[in-house]
Subunit: 292 residues, 6 copies
């Protein structure tokens, strides 16, 4: 597979064993992502196909935005990140994790659960063990910077080796200089030398909040140099299709603009002159046919 | 019952019907609050007795803090609120609610669920219908101010009429001038004229985050003019007991200080002079005995 | 007139001489406030009648908000003020002033203009000289605190003596302790000891921006303990009329709520039970008739 | 003309038709920019010559600052921008635009005005139609980010195609990834995917405020990697002349410093030793002569 | 002595033993406060007389500000405090303390020093032991809120019992509800339940910085509902004298204003009409004579 | 010496003449840095050897952090800087300077002192004159941006010419475009065109606070793309030694991770499988031996 060709050896069997206070059963996952038009992973998480993800990599933010609010999704964007490698698009399927400030009573129950299921005790890492190629880890660490560092360079290496994508964290990372050379997209709120502490992992693959956005497991993550969009799988195709038309419109418009012959309102958002309008319609028709 | 004597007529039967993406079953509630030493409500939520709540009303923040971190609970305080009636202590049992930014796919499933269960469609109010006397509604609205107003004066009247306590919201309220005259403790982040919008109610009586604190249903809420503490039921008795001793210490210390005979380090945190030390120990012993 | 009965002696003749870079001619004023249903001042500024202002003093923020966005006015509210005397409603007709960071070329032209018109050289005070009873001075000082103090206690005394109302300034005031005892509503962003400096008065009675709100001369200002609303004169009557109905609704609803017999969704926003609904409709009809 | 040689075809006839609440007549423009020593455009806006603009491109911020406050202009700098292409100096003649939060009564009058003058209805773009080669659009969008995006990639392409310079906006832009590849200087406060909304264009080529700076139409804009200076045309020549001397001083000083023979106070701000002082004076004299 | 009459018993002998990294010798104190016109304490700290402090209590912020910048003191004011009892003027002689983030090497040396001098080990309290009647403790805790709480209710009681004044801390306090009932002026940045930790006391009675102000030991502290002024002893008399004149001016001006007969520029800052001017001059002369 | 080979001519004799209110005598310096294991400068400041500094240049932030808190140094890191040349490690020996808001009485004493000692009057530069090769100037300017610019391009050239390192300032710099081309690490809070003003230099080579860190003269400064660490000389060797082992661990761990054969908890923080554990121990032993 082209997408992750450089990662040949992939762990084969995951047991989606979880021990978090918020857990989706297979049934929950199907119910809350019922509009997913694609295949699913064993645990029910939507699996947008690699071919679609490839197309998403060619989108612009404008093209994503052109569809989402109109489809009723007004809360799928978040900005204000510190971005590593902003020019490397981040695209993949969301695996979500939620942390909360630790309290020993709740954390104790989760740890006992984990022990009973034979999981290792290092709770914060459990979600990393579930990652697969093409996944993007999306972590709600409630904006914590000091002692809110989801990974350092070792675990960042792990994430990239397994997923080939990157990381979105409403929190921080450690070891910036060790992570920077990995060619991995990271969207975080800050960098701090302290290790993660005083938090508990309360949810895996449940809805999480990243700033003003609600992210579902299986959402198609699209990160560019502005911020991150979380595209519900059921609208991905619509986004990709409409983008073709937007591409054509913008290309024609900008060519016209560059001639210097027009005022901005002559051409944008649509040509004013009937002859120009006709010229554009024919251009669009021809281009759309070429793309088929 | 003295505590809510002025609210005679109480709705009798609640059906804890819920339709949220995050829901605790009765079993979950028992498991995650297993250390609760008190009775429980029908849905399993810990029910600290009224007599204990009365004692908690007499505590100071210092006395609460004196126990919590030592017992491993370092994340049970949150400040930075706008407080209505800061001099009226807010004490009660937490009923928690979590909101997230709305997305139609998830909200649609919850609304369908609610309809199937015969619940009214006005989702945001569902949690209000569950309140009982002595409850304190604790709402995670992720700091939203504009269109993040959990109640206006009508519903604030409702909350106070039913609970006799108040409200903690990591979000806003509407109709400040209508709410102010109600003698009700309110801890919010702001006030805004807009009605609540563009959010969905995702959890009732599950763990919620209020700033840096994690709140469990049934926690004993303690609000004073500084901020709010969420005391796990299993440590409430320890807090109350230790407070007696702190009271005695502070009373003795401040009396000594007011004589003007001592430097601060002679007396505080404990008397330096052996004779004084002895005097204090005897005073404490006597007072503790008086209190029995 | 009851409203300002305690200010007997009023200066009689204003010459609306202006020397600002932004000035409305009489014609401009008529054109941009063409929907004003009321009388006008000599310079064309809308003059909402005292009787209406009296009614506005009885409104709540909720009642103002209930009309404005629906009438297309979504930007007429601003909060985040430091408020002196928050429980004293601020109601009056807006006189607007705009300041900008000083530059000697522009300021020089304005000063020369003023001199030619026989105006005194202390530019910042010119707008004060134009105030009349019932006016509310609304000043855009672009959030400046240090050296952004529109008045100290002497000029605050002046404003109150003339207008009997108060002041809204997106900037600061001086001499808090001298102003506090004046029973005058003040909405400012801060308090600073420095006198105003390094700014120039660029507009009087033109549209100004106060945070996220656009204010026109003659708008009806309504300030309560939340913030300030700037109500265009053409919607004031609609606001006042609708408020009566809201009053009735809230009174009935809160009485029902206080019985403790209902869940919140039984009663709010409207009664669910047909019998209750009917009861409410009859109550409303009766009350509306009583008010006529 | 070398400056914009790559933009061959230029629209020929602008009608400076305007329909904004704040408009400068030709007379106003002459009056408020009376000290302009250069030619003017048809609408009276000062037109600093291309030759001067070329020289300004060689300045440093220090050299600009060295003159402005001393000439009484203390409010001509603004920083805290997000800058695209910070190493590409932005130099040109200011075309100013002011937006305010929309209100339908005021916006309606302006739209009717525009219609009467045969202008297209897309108000926000009107100012773009007025741009000419060498202009820099300077937009007051009062710091609005969400729904405060003055241009996306299509209109950014337009601005650059016409002006060959860039953009200063106290607001946001859209389509960062489409704008970044255009080799165009942009100074904005943020980036957001939403289109511009809920604002109205209230002024073109009038004084506008960008943060703490007041900008006049025809000011010479100078943007570097720190921020933006708005240089009144009447002091541009003084700035350019003084810069030559500063260049000489800094070159000599830094050469001396690099020898490592001197303490900082021996050399800076001026040489302490009389012999060194003399050496410097002779160096300066020689260099100034060479430059003639 | 009237000023502290209710604190009869005062500790008699202080040994100004210090063990801080920054310490003023008696000689340093004399040198850096050489312009002090008043008596001094044993350690050299200026001792503005009680009679002067009484007069300072009658000042307004405006009157303090009227002198300081003109005398070259532009950095003696700090605002942005949370103030307890804002209407109770805070006046007294500054005792300064500086804290820094702890490091064990430096703290260790100071503790060893203290031990060698027989001082108690609780370093943070050492400065409290030095307080005397009429002192105001001024503490630089670099804005630390969490674990930056200089006192709780026991030590606040101590401060007030000894000094009869209050506290200024660029940091926090604990036990708000225990401190509030003490009738003591407190200027702090916040309130937090955590005890002070992770800091070291590095200076006593040396220059300290409180926000943008530099405070010297012996400065006369003046706190009102706006903020705090630190008045160097050498200008206190000038402030008090000038205040008398300002009082007269404001009284006359405000009386005139309240007649409603004048425009603001007729009267303020000084009367325009020659007859009025003369009237004022005579009034002032008479009043000043009365005060002698 | 390789480290500064390009700066051949070094001023030979410094007189550590100082005239600041906070000054360390030679004795103070020895006392407060008593644990320094290295040589010292003439004034007692610790002089970590060049060879150690070279090793520190190879460290990562993680390796520095791995030792400091465990050794009791929890306040030696500060982030939130604007960094010039973030990829060029900043390493050297701290020379500290403290500024405070100016007051003429204190500044006057210091200037008189300086004059008496024959120092030049330009106070702010005095500390620059004391710099030597390998020093890093660390300046507390209390976060001041406007008029808080410690150097422009001339003095930045000086610092780099003398030290070959860089600058840490809790304040600002001027002339960004002139400083950027110097290949010099700069950690500042901002950039502003104004020259430094209204401050006084109150301490040289005394403890200073940079945000949340306390810096001692002679600390080893380590700046990377995250922020700056101030390493006390007594722990530098321990840091360097432990780093070797961390290097080995991370290299082995990341190699294993890149095989894609392991879950994260199999390998990190230490291998779970006994065979793997053994493999790692042998690898480590071998590598450590190779390094000897």
């Amino acid at each position: 597979m082209k997408f992750f060709a450089n990662f040949l050896v992939i762990p084969l069997a995951w047991l989606p064993l979880q021990a978090q206070v918020f857990t989706f059963t297979h049934e929950d996952m199907l119910k809350y992502t019922a509009q997913n038009p694609f295949e699913r992973f064993a645990d029910g998480r939507p699996k947008a196909p690699d071919a679609i993800l490839e197309k998403v990599k060619g989108l612009s933010a404008e093209e994503v935005w052109a569809v989402l609010p109109g489809a009723g999704f007004r809360n799928q964007y978040e900005g204000n990140f510190r971005i590593l490698h902003p020019n490397r698009k981040l695209v993949g399927r969301a695996v979500t994790a939620q942390f909360m400030p630790a309290r020993p009573d709740v954390a104790g129950v989760m740890e006992a659960d984990a022990k009973a299921k034979g999981l290792r005790d290092n709770g914060n890492q459990r979600v990393l063990d579930m990652l697969r190629p093409g996944d993007v880890l999306v972590v709600d660490l409630f904006g914590k910077i000091e002692e809110g560092t989801i990974v350092g360079d070792n675990l960042a290496t792990y994430i990239y080796a397994i997923t080939g994508t990157g990381l979105v964290v409403d929190g921080a990372i450690r070891d910036l200089e060790g992570i920077q050379p990995i060619d991995m997209s990271v969207y975080c709120r800050g960098v701090h030398p302290t290790p993660i502490r005083n938090v508990m992992l309360t949810g895996i693959n449940v809805p999480v909040r990243i700033g003003g956005a609600t992210v579902m497991p299986g959402d198609v993550v699209f990160g560019d140099s502005e911020g991150v969009y979380f595209i519900p799988p059921q609208v991905v195709k619509q986004v990709v299709d409409k983008a073709d038309e937007t591409h054509i419109h913008d290309q024609w418009t900008q060519e016209k603009i560059k001639t210097g012959k027009y005022k901005s309102t002559d051409i944008y958002p649509s040509p004013r002159d009937p002859a120009l309008k006709k010229e554009y319609e024919e251009y669009k028709k021809r281009k759309l046919e070429e793309q088929k």
